[in-house]
């Protein structure tokens, strides 16, 4: 359909009813700039119109919560006056178009959310989903470029990328998922709000020039007038400049450290429009913004383009008039362009000016609060969401063949080829990097000669990110809950107690009843698991309409969790530690094949629900492992996840570089899964008293008595070469 064929508000994604609400709220027709601003602020991305009501089901309070959902990132108290801020965000659609820049700017965007609230970013994690790499050239391309983009941004800005996860399923073929999580640290008093405050205070835009980047939907406002020769006026892909953001980050943190700012906000989706109107809304004030002062990369930009540009590496702050000089001086020190572009006003109205000329005048509430929120119409689908895939492991494979096949498979093989492209150690606090433990561990205080020599504990945090869309598809409620359990289990393996979590809800079109059902069930599952484990949700992100002509993606809630451990010196490891250590299986383990990796690789469609969990037992198991690791009596700990107990044992052996001899309890399914419930731990015989002893560490092979006996070198080769072989 051509641009002229339907009313402009529809071209901009507003329904007729929404447009009527706008007319009623405004009492007149909006101008071009106003319409562009409103259409973006009323978009799913900014208004959460299909998810906000559901998100209210998530528990958001807890004794450690310092900042809950609503600010740029949530934050929890980790003691000693320190706060940890964190959030996960998606950049799925830009990455499907241009994976390198899409992923890079995804990292850049989530980092800005962290330093916008006053925290210094100390870690990045990524959660990636692609189509089946073994079959898809496109998925290999997307993976390679997305990983390079994440590395490019994180490595260049000096924030370690300490963890992540990748899954491959056919449903992500056309719609890959690129979620990035960032974690920051601040002293409590440094945490900053985005709320604009102080009538007469100045609004300063600092950072990169404003160009036509990512103008997206609003570009239809120009398209009517765009001729063939006007290619230059078309919106462009956002390009990330980590060098610019490095300076912007240092500059922002210095401005806050010197207490020069009344508030600070990053520019993300919908650029100046969303950043400024949200600052005004939070502060219950108005703003006058003069677009003629906004420094531009291209001279001939239209007012609406300036207001909705998504050029990266920009921040907005509110400053008292007598501090403006000082702010500009700090910006100059960091080689950062900074310009006063407006002022805080008493009337809660956002006025857009070009010099003296008034281009737009919108009530802040109309922009930020008045978009209608929709009730979904969930309906359970009649057919299963996941119908199984191609067979890649023979159904009559021997246990040894199945184990080697799993270790080399796309979803289980070593991620080394990916994480070697990320710097995990910059900032000198990484105590556990990828493949050393189930969660990343970062020391909080500076590590120096004194900490090394002293006997004082070195408090640390552990971070994990998880979410298995296939299991959520099998059973949305239980699958989403499993993501929470598994993150908590990962933390337990390092000795950490969960403090809070963030989540990114990647789903299809919520206007479709079965997608609405997935979303609603998954949120209920998340909420229940959070309550069961006492982990509040402090923030997150929702990415809907992840669809292709083949249908929606698997429902993919991704959970990022942060916990605390009292002493980094006792952070757990997953690898077997020493010959002679006893091995125990802990937990109320109820493994099932349905929905497991082996079932997938053997081409069988999952039937029924995921295993029911005994939550009291699960909590107790996590506590036991956590305490055992903290006290040092456990020499290693690893949760049993995808691939079941056989894969978990192999991973412990590979990571430790030492074999084991194990006798499994009768009737235990070698490859069944029950995520988050059970662990392989090692220690002395006394340390493991009361646990189910299953074997002993030692030798050059993994032997499961009467079942299989495979040399360690063969296990390691399968695990290490799996992904590179698929990528070739």
């Amino acid at each position: 359909m051509s641009a002229a064929a339907q009313p402009r508000h529809r071209e901009l994604g507003l329904t007729d009813r929404e447009y009527e609400l706008i007319l009623a709220g405004l009492g007149r027709e909006p101008s071009d700039v106003e319409l562009a601003m409103l259409s973006l602020m009323w978009s799913e991305h900014c208004a959460y119109k299909h998810s906000k009501k559901l998100l209210r089901r998530l528990p958001t309070e807890g004794p450690h919560v310092l900042v809950g959902p609503g600010e740029n990132a949530g934050a929890v108290d980790v003691g000693d006056g320190l706060a940890i801020a964190f959030k996960v965000e998606s950049h799925n659609h830009p990455s499907a178009v241009e994976p390198f820049q899409g992923a890079a700017t995804g990292v850049g965007g989530i980092l800005r959310d962290i330093f916008a609230i006053g925290a210094r970013p100390i870690a990045v994690l990524d959660s990636l989903r692609f189509g089946e790499v073994a079959d898809s050239q496109r998925s290999r391309y997307l993976l390679e470029h997305a990983v390079a983009g994440i590395g490019h941004y994180g490595n260049s800005i000096g924030v370690p990328t300490v963890g992540g996860e990748i899954y491959f399923e056919p449903s992500y073929e056309q719609n890959c998922l690129i979620n990035a999580m960032a974690v920051g640290m601040a002293r409590h008093e440094r945490l900053t709000s985005a709320a604009a405050a102080g009538i007469g205070n100045r609004l300063i835009l600092f950072g990169a020039l404003t160009g036509r980047d990512g103008i997206g939907g609003a570009s239809v406002l120009a398209s009517a007038e765009l001729g063939e020769g006007d290619a230059a006026k078309r919106p462009t892909v956002q390009i990330g400049d980590p060098f610019a953001e490095k300076k912007l980050m240092e500059c922002s943190l210095e401005l806050l450290e010197r207490e020069l700012l009344a508030s600070l906000q990053d520019l993300g989706a919908a650029g100046l429009t969303s950043a400024a109107s949200e600052m005004a809304s939070k502060g219950a004030v108005g703003l006058d913004l003069d677009i003629s002062r906004v420094p531009l990369r291209e001279a001939d930009m239209e007012p609406f383009e300036i207001m909705v540009s998504e050029s990266q590496e920009r921040m907005l702050c509110v400053v008292e008039p007598d501090r403006v000089e000082a702010v500009l001086a700090v910006c100059e020190h960091w080689d950062i362009l900074a310009t006063v572009i407006g002022e805080v006003t008493a009337q809660p109205v956002f006025r857009i000016l070009r010099g003296e000329q008034l281009l737009g005048e919108l009530p802040v509430a109309l922009l930020v609060d008045d978009c209608p929120l929709y009730d979904l119409e969930p309906q359970a689908p009649s057919a299963p969401l996941y119908r199984g895939g191609d067979q890649r492991i023979a159904t009559d494979a021997t246990p040894a063949q199945a184990l080697l096949g799993l270790l080399a498979s796309a979803n289980i093989s070593s991620r080394r080829a990916v994480f070697e492209q990320y710097d995990p150690v910059v900032q000198s606090r990484t105590v556990r990097r990828p493949e050393q433990a189930d969660a990343a561990v970062l020391a909080l205080p500076v590590l120096d000669a004194r900490s090394a020599a002293g006997s004082q504990p070195i408090p640390a945090i552990a971070i994990s990110i998880d979410g298995n869309g296939r299991r959520v598809a099998v059973d949305p409620r239980a699958g989403a809950a499993e993501a929470v359990y598994e993150c908590a289990a990962n933390l337990a393996c390092t000795g950490a107690q969960p403090l809070g979590l963030t989540n990114c809800l990647n789903f299809g079109n919520p206007e479709k009843p079965h997608v609405a059902w997935q979303l609603s069930e998954a949120i209920d599952g998340l909420a229940a698991a959070c309550r069961e484990l006492d982990v509040p949700v402090v923030g997150g992100n929702v990415s809907l309409y992840n669809e292709s002509p083949d249908g929606p993606i698997l429902p993919t809630p991704v959970v990022g969790m942060v916990g605390r451990l009292p002493d980094a010196r006792h952070a757990g490891r997953l690898g077997f530690a020493a010959a002679g250590d006893r091995i125990a299986l802990v937990g109320h383990f109820n493994p099932r094949r349905d929905g497991s990796e082996l079932a997938k690789l053997q081409g069988s469609a999952p039937a029924g629900a995921l295993p029911a969990k005994d939550v009291a037992a699960l909590r107790e198991t996590h506590r036991l492992v956590r305490e055992g690791v903290r006290s040092g009596v456990l020499h290693s700990a690893h949760d049993i996840a995808e691939g079941g107990i056989a894969v978990a044992l192999a991973e412990c052996a590979i990571a430790g570089g030492i074999g084991a001899r194990v006798r499994l309890p009768d009737g235990l399914d070698l490859f069944g899964e029950d995520l988050g419930t059970a662990f392989i731990v090692t220690g002395s015989e006394q340390a493991l008293a009361g646990m189910t002893l299953i074997g002993e560490v030692g030798g050059e092979a993994l032997e499961l008595e009467g079942v299989l006996n495979v040399p360690l070198s063969e296990l390691a080769a399968a695990h290490d070469s799996g992904l590179p072989a698929l990528l070739r």
Binding site: E98, A208, V237, I239, F243, S311
Partner: protein
Amino acid sequence: MRARVLIRPKAGILDPQGQAVERALPALGFSGVANVHVGRLVELDVDDASQLPGMCERLLANPLIEDYEIIEGVAAHS
């Protein structure tokens, strides 16, 4: 035939490399420089020059963010 492909950031696309060079030059005493852009150069021998546009579209350039220009029949550089 030896051919040369010049690949440059599309107009309007952020070019941080070009900016960095432009800002560095005055400090070295070079003035009167503007509009610096940094791109890529690919030189190759091709049997069939009609394949060049396809190669550019599919591999050498990223048409979403880069323009390319094909120069056929340049002198060989050893």
